[in-house]
């Protein structure tokens, strides 16, 4: 790695790396330690002496990021398991005093670590990664990565009701940021490395590369960008290869194939979608209510909040429900194998919701993904078991309903509908469930969004005082196209063979601000009166107008092209002809700068 101290490389690179910026109250550094001007200057030099360097490094580094993220996530998962076994015992069951005490003690230790050493490790990690991308030029400090690893492992292993996926995402993003910084890539590249690392970390955590890529696109980047897609795939695949090398390639959950013998059974899954769509906003509402209130308490209480949350979670475990403690994948598996009656499943839904809400709101580092999957699986199992009790003809197993339930809450709560579908398929390795999953997830997503328009990540963003783009809103913004501003052809249209004199007469009669010249090859030229006058002054009136034209031609524009793509042509052309794609040379209309601006002004 490139050292952060002065090097023998004597390029003008005034890098000030080494001292992380002070984090704000949300635990996010206020600014990148590398000055923007220094990086710009370095990038300009690189552009000159090695213009394709960044692009090629980008792909190679994606693989390194994937491998290192995968290794760290493996270590992270093992650390969680070690801590769990050492602190809660190898087979926790109700009535063990350690269940009551350990989460509280873990909470105190974690709070001290966060307050004294790793303030940026608070929270889940998703918003911090988004902040790195949109605010801090991809900067995530090494201290944040270490802090996230240690504190999350302690909290989750100690029984707090949180998951390892979001921290893994941030650890991956942090690894990417550190590597990219030390390679001194351009700011644009540097910024894009955070989501690539995030995809790698999440892919390893879920053992599901497609879902990780989709999540990063849906929730972090917000758009399909060809520039990063290749790197995202490389990083995600590399990390999953590493994870599977250690942990094996078995899917996380296994259920029997779902055979829809009667399509009417989809109604039963639709009912599950409705329940998920109602529960998701409730979960958001409780979190959105409790989290800011706990954060607003006096600073001294921040040391105690994780401990109190831990004590509450421990009490739930001690008095009969140790299933809610920790990650809970084994409990999800049990639910999928129909090992709980619906009353128990329903109890676990609400107890896990409570445990996760207090754990997360207390600022304990850890993620929301696993608890969401847990609650969804229990809800699915409860609804499935209940429905099967009253409609014994339903052929789907309780496991199938649990699996669909996971996706339902994922779609409704985290608001990532596409990811939720692929996540279910990948974690179960079971494609036969796709129809119920799509149906139920869509219902849950739409219902949840109508009841709670603001997604949970956006709620957290606002609570943290940040203004990050909402991917959900972005996805639904409709971009304007040329057809939205196109006007009928009012300008005079002449042929290239027409004489300058004739054209001048036509323009004078029309009193137009420009005219369009159609050339024999089908191309167009937009001419202003000034340009025509200049030509008339130097050429005879009989000269064909095409000889008076400059060598360039009006750009070929079509109605379906983005409206903003016209903007950079207006300094050169007074108006732009819009052609028909099917018939070259046939005009659909024209657009002027005024038309475009008017359209944008009225687009609200």
């Amino acid at each position: 790695m490139t050292p952060e101290s002065p090097t023998d490389f004597q390029m003008p690179v005034p890098v000030t790396a080494g001292a992380p910026a002070a984090p704000d109250s949300a635990g996010i550094p206020e600014s990148s330690p590398v000055s923007a001007t220094a990086r710009t200057s370095f990038a300009a030099t690189i552009d000159r002496i090695a213009p394709t360097r960044d692009e090629r490094l980008f792909l190679v580094l994606s693989i390194f990021i994937g491998v290192i993220s995968g290794l760290l996530v493996v270590a992270f998962r093992i650390a969680i398991e070690w801590i769990k076994i050492l602190s809660l015992g190898s087979a926790p069951h109700p009535g063990q005093l350690r269940l009551l005490l350990v989460p509280g003690i873990a909470g105190i230790v974690v709070a001290a670590l966060v307050m004294w050493f790793f303030p940026a490790a608070r929270g889940s990690g998703v918003n911090q990664t988004k902040a790195a991308l949109y605010v801090y030029d991809g900067y995530i400090s090494i201290r944040t990565v270490i802090g996230k690893f240690l504190t999350s492992a302690l909290a989750i292993g100690g029984g707090h009701s949180l998951g390892p996926e979001d921290p893994s995402l941030q650890i991956g993003a942090g690894v990417a940021s550190i590597i990219a910084r030390n390679l001194r890539l351009s700011r644009r590249r540097l910024r894009m490395f955070a989501p690539i690392g995030a995809a790698a970390g999440l892919a390893a955590a879920f053992n599901a590369p497609i879902s990780a890529i989709l999540f990063v696109i849906e929730e972090v980047i917000g758009s399909w960008s060809a520039a990063v897609l290749g790197s995202l795939v490389l990083a995600a695949i590399s990390s999953v290869v590493v994870m599977r090398g250690f942990m094996g390639s078995e899917p996380m959950f296994r259920i029997p194939s779902v055979t829809l013998r009667d399509t009417r059974e989809l109604l039963a899954y639709a009912v599950l979608g409705v329940f998920g769509g109602l529960l998701a906003p409730l979960f958001s509402l409780i979190l959105g209510f409790l989290r800011p209130r706990m954060r607003a308490m006096p600073r001294g209480t921040l040391y105690l909040q994780p401990a109190v949350a831990g004590l509450m979670v421990g009490a739930i475990g001690y008095f009969g429900f140790p299933q809610v403690m920790g990650v809970g994948y084994d409990v999800i598996d049990q639910a999928m194998h129909g090992q709980f009656v619906w009353q128990m499943l329903l109890a676990l839904v609400f107890l896990k919701l409570l445990a996760t809400t207090v754990s997360f709101s207390s600022g304990t580092p850890g993620g929301m993904f696993a608890p969401t999957l847990f609650i969804g699986a229990m809800l699915g199992g409860a609804v499935g078991a209940f429905e099967k009790h009253f409609f014994p003809g339903l052929t789907g197993t309780v496991g199938a309903y649990s699996l669909v339930g996971m996706g339902v809450l994922f779609a409704g709560f985290l608001r990532v509908p596409l990811t939720s579908v692929f996540m279910v398929l990948e974690v179960s390795g079971n494609y036969s469930i796709i129809l119920p999953v799509i149906l139920a997830n869509t219902i849950a997503f739409l219902l949840s969004r109508s009841l709670q328009p603001v997604g949970i990540f956006e709620i957290f963003t606002h609570q943290d005082g940040l203004d990050l783009p909402s991917m959900e809103v972005q996805r639904e913004e409709s971009a304007l196209h040329i057809e939205d501003a196109i006007q009928p052809v009012a300008a005079p249209v002449v042929q290239g063979s027409d004489s300058i004199g004739k054209v001048a007469d036509i323009l004078a009669d029309a009193r137009a601000a420009a005219l369009l010249v159609q050339l024999p090859d089908g191309s167009w030229y937009a001419m202003s009166p000034a340009e025509l006058n200049a030509a008339a002054a130097t050429l005879t009136p009989e000269t064909p107008i095409q000889r008076a034209l400059k060598p360039d031609r009006a750009p070929q524009l079509f109605p379906d092209m983005p409206l903003d793509s016209t903007l950079h042509y207006f300094p050169r052309w007074p108006l732009l002809p819009v052609s028909n794609r099917a018939s070259r040379g046939t005009l659909e209309g024209v657009v002027t700068l005024d038309d475009v601006l008017h359209r944008y002004r009225s687009s609200d």
């Binding site: 398991e81 087979a91 194998h337 129909g338």
Partner: protein, 396 residues
Amino acid sequence: MTTLHAGTLLSPEERLARRRLILRDALSLLTLFLITVVIFTLTLFLYRSFENHREELWRRWKSRGEAALQAGRPKDAVEDLRSALAYIPDRQTEVELATALADAGHTIEATAYFNTLWESTPGDGQINLQLARLAARVGNEPAAVLHYEAALDGTWEGNGYDHRRQIRLELAGYLISRREYNQARSQLLVAASNAPDDPAIKIQIAALLEQAKDVQSALGIYRAVAARRPAPVPAVEGAGRIAYSMGMFRVAADYLDRASASPDAAELPDAERAADRTMLDISSRILLLFPAFDLPARERSQRILSAKNLAHQRLAGCAAANSAAASQLAALVTRWDQLPARLTAAQLEQQPDLEQTIVQLAFDTESVTSRICGAPTGDDALLLRIAANPIAVEQP
């Protein structure tokens, strides 16, 4: 990594900078590679250490679970095996957990668990057998039969031949419990034809055939096994019992006598021995009453006369006790009236047709009076038994 497209346009300083950049990038990537190797080594060390610990925990909980399962404590076994699976989710432990769930009465959970296992290996004999048992438990006969048959055709670890035979017998037992006797008999006959030369197995098959109402086949197997030396008491006793039920009192008496005389008879339950003794006494008495053709003529005639007297007294008693039934007994009375008033053994032995008429009348009298006046007792009852199937009495 650095590309040299712009090489010809660069100043000497820039070319030097580019060379340094190439060197720096190469060193950076090498360093990155070394860091990756270091992290990999540390992770591998951590992973192996954890795996060892996990395996130790898995072994501990698995052995506890298996011990609990064998000790008939399935609830404890469920908890222990579940803990074991949390560390290493191996198939055998999953099967054991599902079995423990089934034994603990968690039928739905066990079925779901076995279905999951079945999904990955639909041809596994053990899984199909467990699913068949669970389906049988909840009364889902089609699924039970389907899984039993899949278990018969499925793969088995170890001696598949023995497993399949046991499953076939279990399936037959299940079919018997569902009163599907024909299907059960088919399975048992297949099992019998493939059974090894093992008396215990043959006796088990014969017992099931007996329950499936195929007493003829059961008797055949019992007798074949009873022909061995030393003859297993259950086979001898079974042959006697079935022969008795079929009215083959000569055979029954023979086998029951052998069974009671066997030194191994003491191993039989007291109730069973008492029942055998009763059957032997009855059979012996019937053989004393029965006018067999191979008896000396005089003795046969005397037995026929005794039967005649016995039946006539039974008719008179029945008519006296139940005067309302006179019309039902009228036909019998008429037949009795047609017999010679006085007959001696010597006279009778000269008239074989009359002998047969009297024997048949005695049997018909016992049958009719038993319907009108209730079950007879004593020798009347024995005559009635003979009447049910007189040909079988002396059948070898």
